[in-house]
């Protein structure tokens, strides 16, 4: 297959030198800077706010609400999104070189990674189902518990107050028989807020492709790739005085037909269907200088797999109860937060021995100390216990944040440990499940800076992480067994630059980023393991993205390009099996019209503009150029009384 080869060793070193200089140069002027930050509210006793580098995609939600989260991240960030096919195919996130099961996805505080596989399938999760979408880069186990080794994708719904009756209708149509309907009803006054969102999606995925695994390499049309997806999200909020109650529910049902592998003879007769029902009930009370926060969450999901080709059928049901209590308060220059989380996880699976239950408890104490104006020192201590691993895992982090005068520059740095418990499949699978598995553990150190001046924002971070007892399935006779096999080290740097420029009525917006990720195996229990010293599979050394938008009144024209570096598919980094680097280019244009209480969005988009041939693995057909048209009408029919 034709590909793209990057001859860049010296250039990469040059880029890294620049990155290093950008991160560490500000430290040299650290002592000379004056702070403008004089007070810290209790609310700012927040782990991410104090220590972490994060990226918010909130500003993209209004014009990308019909897009999947994975597609948005693929276009607008440097994280790795792994997807095996067209829309609706399994889509997972990899951050800083760690696998999808080593990154956590949270919905309103509830961890929603699969207990069986460890990952979260982003397919069918539309951007518009959430009000806040944040990517937290790097190890975050001290805040979010096990699994957040590479980072966290944090999805949240928030209340809209005093908006009256708000109706929203929309939908999109596009290539390969893709269509989506979206309806939202919302009402809010000063005390009460309610919304109900319904999204229905279907994609046939009947795109043409060149079958590179059949003699003659014929053009074929993909069959049996349909995707059905329905989401219902309900939000209820109530507030009175210092009390606030939040109840959010998310009902999701998906069915996916699995297309045949390119080298398969028979037409596929394989499908999956899953449904999930998630709830979070939250109570918040402000008591003088403190905030009490209590949540209960429930996640229940069922999964079915049908393989009529090989007569393999399986199903399972996962349930998770989650209680979280937090208390924030301040004392002189100290700000404290204590948090306790209790989870009860269980899975009924026809392939498990018995019905396993796991209870986990996670307790942390977080403290901020304002050393001087603009300079915060932060620390976290805590413990994690699990009934499936009797040992207690101590948790700790230490870091600082410095904001210079006029808030031009922000520096953050921290060191912390992280861990991940084995998945239920690792532990309980009837052929190979290993109850002796230990949790993966390691530590992370990172530093970031952000420079904001006029129309420029420059953000950079460097990091170093390691993980020991990395879990991997290895062949053992006629079946495979998960073992604590490896130690893995990951280090790298991210650099992001934003620029806004205005010429009369025309605005230019540039957003760009580049990430260098070196993730290698350092130790292994396998004799002469060829993985040692090599880049971990499916982790590109370089990822990059850039978007340029031109705004004129209500019109926007945007061009995006994303670069995905070469990916090795074998642990010995055999070039023959490597997936070549590629660029993905998209172009979109939209008009967002706002007239009094009405707004109307019409958006056209061409994805994979240059019809690039790319690959996520040699056996999967991927779509070429695709066209999409979406509209969204929002009607605010009534404005309730003001005040309160």
């Amino acid at each position: 297959m034709p590909g793209v080869r990057c001859v860049r060793d010296k250039r990469v070193r040059g880029v890294l030198t620049i990155l290093g200089a950008l991160v560490f140069f500000p430290l040299s002027i650290f002592a000379q800077l004056k702070s403008s930050v004089d007070t810290i509210s209790v609310v700012e006793v927040d782990y991410v706010h104090s220590l972490k580098s994060s990226t918010s995609f909130d500003s993209l939600i209004p014009t990308s609400s019909l897009k999947s989260i994975g597609d948005l991240l693929l276009e607008s960030s440097n994280v790795q999104i792994k997807q095996f096919g067209g829309k609706g195919s399994t889509q997972s996130i990899q951050i800083r070189g760690f696998s999808s099961s080593q990154n956590q996805v949270n919905w309103n505080g509830l961890p929603i990674n699969s207990l069986t596989l460890g990952m979260f399938d982003l397919a069918g999760s539309s951007v518009g189902s959430f009000d806040k979408l944040q990517l937290i880069n790097g190890s975050s186990s001290v805040e979010y518990g096990g699994g957040a080794i590479g980072g966290v994708l944090d999805l949240k719904n928030t209340a809209h107050w005093n908006k009256g009756l708000d109706l929203s209708f929309g939908g999109s149509v596009g290539s390969f028989n893709a269509n989506m309907d979206r309806y939202k009803f919302a009402y809010s006054n000063n005390r009460f807020s309610y919304s109900l969102l319904y999204i229905n999606e279907f994609v046939k995925n009947d795109y043409d492709f060149i079958n590179t695994q059949v003699l003659g390499k014929p053009q074929e049309t993909q069959e049996h790739g349909e995707f059905w997806n329905t989401n219902l999200v309900q939000e209820v909020y109530y507030r009175k005085g210092n009390n606030k109650v939040k109840w959010v529910s998310w009902l999701n049902g998906r069915k996916k037909n699995t297309p045949k592998f390119l080298n398969a003879n028979e037409a596929s007769r394989k499908s999956t269907a899953d449904s999930s029902f998630r709830n979070v009930l939250n109570y918040t009370r402000i008591i003088k200088n403190s905030i009490l926060d209590i949540s209960y969450g429930y996640s229940g999901s069922g999964f079915n797999y049908w393989d009529y080709n090989d007569s393999i059928f399986s199903d399972y049901f996962v349930s998770e109860h989650f209680v979280l209590a937090g208390y924030k308060f301040k004392y002189k220059k100290f700000r404290f937060r204590i948090k306790s989380r209790l989870e009860r996880q269980s899975v009924v699976n026809s392939r498990y021995v018995g019905t396993p239950i796991r209870t986990q408890n996670f307790n942390t104490a977080f403290v901020n100390y304002s050393l001087k104006k603009g300079l915060l020192l932060s620390g976290v201590v805590g413990t994690q216990t699990s009934t499936r691993d009797k040992s207690l895992i101590p948790i700790g982090s230490l870091g600082y944040k410095y904001i210079t005068s006029k808030k031009i520059m922000t520096l953050k740095g921290n060191i912390s440990n992280h861990f991940r418990y084995p998945t239920f499949n690792n532990l309980f699978w009837d052929t190979g499940g290993n109850l002796e598995l230990k949790p993966e553990k390691g530590w992370n150190i990172e530093h970031s800076f952000k420079l904001e001046k006029k129309n420029h924002i420059l953000k950079s971070e460097v990091y170093f992480s390691n993980v020991k007892d990395w879990i991997q399935w290895l062949p053992n006779g006629s079946f495979w067994v998960p073992l604590n096999v490896k130690a893995v080290r990951s280090y790298g740097a991210d650099l992001n630059y934003k620029f806004n420029y205005r010429i009369k009525k025309v605005k230019l917006k540039l957003n760009s980023g580049i990430a260098y990720t070196k993730t290698t195996v350092t130790e292994s229990i396998i004799n002469n393991d060829p993985a040692i010293g090599n880049q971990v599979t499916y982790v590109p050394l370089i990822n990059g993205n850039m978007s340029l938008a031109v705004e004129w009144e209500q019109f926007v024209l945007q061009y995006q390009t994303a670069y995905k570096g070469k990916q090795y598919t074998t642990v010995d980094n055999n070039e023959r099996y490597a997936l070549p680097a590629y660029f993905m280019n998209n172009i979109s244009a939209w008009r967002l019209t706002k007239i009094k209480s009405y707004s109307f969005l019409v958006k056209g988009e061409i994805q994979n503009l240059l019809d690039a041939v790319y690959s996520v693995d040699q056996n999967y057909a991927l779509p070429g150029r695709a066209f999409y048209l979406s509209i969204l009408l929002n009607l605010n029919l009534h404005t309730p009384e003001k005040g309160g």
Partner: protein, 346 residues
């Protein structure tokens, strides 16, 4: 701006590459070892060649000769008959028999089956085992490359062996359970008889006396009726009776076997316990392994009696083929494709 420039540098540093897979590879097989590499499922497996005299390794023979198109997922075995090579792949959904011209490895014919495993030849016919459940043996004309007949055998037929006009088929059970071998009369292509052994018959060799030896894998502890011990059986082809049986372990373990050039020593391996040399008179039944290590397959070079072992290294990287003398001295090591399992040696 620096980010944009950095990205620009990378973008300009990229050049269009030539296709990685050539379509014209001049490779003619005359001697040496042809190795079947199962591959990382569901991706296609490959075929490697090792010149056992010079040590030259050529990987991905089939792909390179066929413009990058793979031989199919799970290349299980390779065999040679006259001027043709036969590559058997179990497939990701339906398997293939790729028939290639040995002078170029270009594809002559591709035949589809459900779950093909091994092939053997007699006269102008090839016989192919097929099926992960209910099993069949297909009769294929080596002149026309057309399937001429089929015959039902036990479940999950694995290796087969032709001797004195009879075809012996080891019925491993596949995804089900079986413990039999089927003996087929080739003159009539009908089942002569079925002999019950222990669970999961896998491989078959013939000794210097003309007796047939069958390795049975046994059952693992997690399987219904398991665990059961792996065994070697000696069968007289004339009387179709079991002559001897030997227990060679405690649980599901051994798989393929190989025999030396004088056909009096059978080599079997425990996956994590090394390679064992078994004299057909049973005298070395309790001897320790002659080669320590973890293996996925074993073959013997009939010209030198050297033992070839295969380690797939977890199916996530190149496999290792190690060559040992008949007494277990390490001689050489080669890097092959992913999931190497055995060799056809000429």
């Amino acid at each position: 701006m620096i980010a944009a420039v950095s990205l620009g540098i990378l973008m300009t540093a990229c050049t269009k590459d030539e296709p990685t897979a050539a379509c014209e590879v001049a490779f003619g097989f005359t001697s040496g070892a042809l190795i079947s590499n199962e591959g990382a499922w569901p991706n296609s497996g490959t075929v490697s060649h090792v010149d056992l005299t010079t040590g030259t390794v050529t990987n991905s023979l089939y792909e390179d000769a066929n413009c990058g198109v793979g031989a199919g997922a799970g290349v299980q075995s390779v065999a040679v008959n006259s001027t043709k090579g036969y590559i058997v792949s179990t497939g990701s959904a339906g398997g293939n028999l790729q028939i290639v011209d040995l002078t170029s490895f270009k594809n002559n014919k591709s035949l589809s089956f459900s779950y093909p495993r091994y092939i053997d030849f007699s006269g102008n016919s090839a016989y192919l085992t097929d099926g992960s459940g209910a099993g069949s043996v297909y009769k294929i004309s080596t002149l026309s490359n057309i399937v001429s007949d089929t015959l039902a055998v036990g479940s999950g037929p694995e290796n087969l062996h032709i001797s004195n006009g009879k075809l012996f088929v080891a019925n491993s059970g596949g995804y089900a359970l079986d413990s039999s071998i089927t003996i087929i009369d080739l003159a009539t292509f009908t089942v002569d008889t079925t002999i019950n052994l222990t669970y999961r018959p896998i491989d078959i060799v013939e000794d210097k006396n003309g007796n047939i030896w069958v390795s049975c894998q046994g059952l693992a502890s997690w399987e219904t009726n398991g665990p059961t011990a792996p065994m070697l059986y000696e069968i007289n082809p004339a009387s179709e009776a079991i002559v001897n049986s030997y227990t060679v372990g405690t649980t599901e373990d051994i798989k393929r076997i190989a025999i030396n050039s004088t056909k009096d020593v059978i080599y079997y391996y425990h996956e994590y316990g090394g390679v064992f040399a078994f004299n057909i008179d049973g005298s070395t039944i309790n001897d320790p392994a002659i080669i320590e290590g973890s293996f996925y397959g074993v073959s013997v070079d009939p010209a030198t009696d050297n033992i070839l072992t295969f380690n797939p290294n977890g199916f996530t990287s190149a496999s290792t083929m190690s060559v040992y003398s008949s007494t277990g001295d390490s001689l050489a090591s080669y890097s092959l494709g992913i999931g190497a399992n055995e060799a056809f040696i000429k």
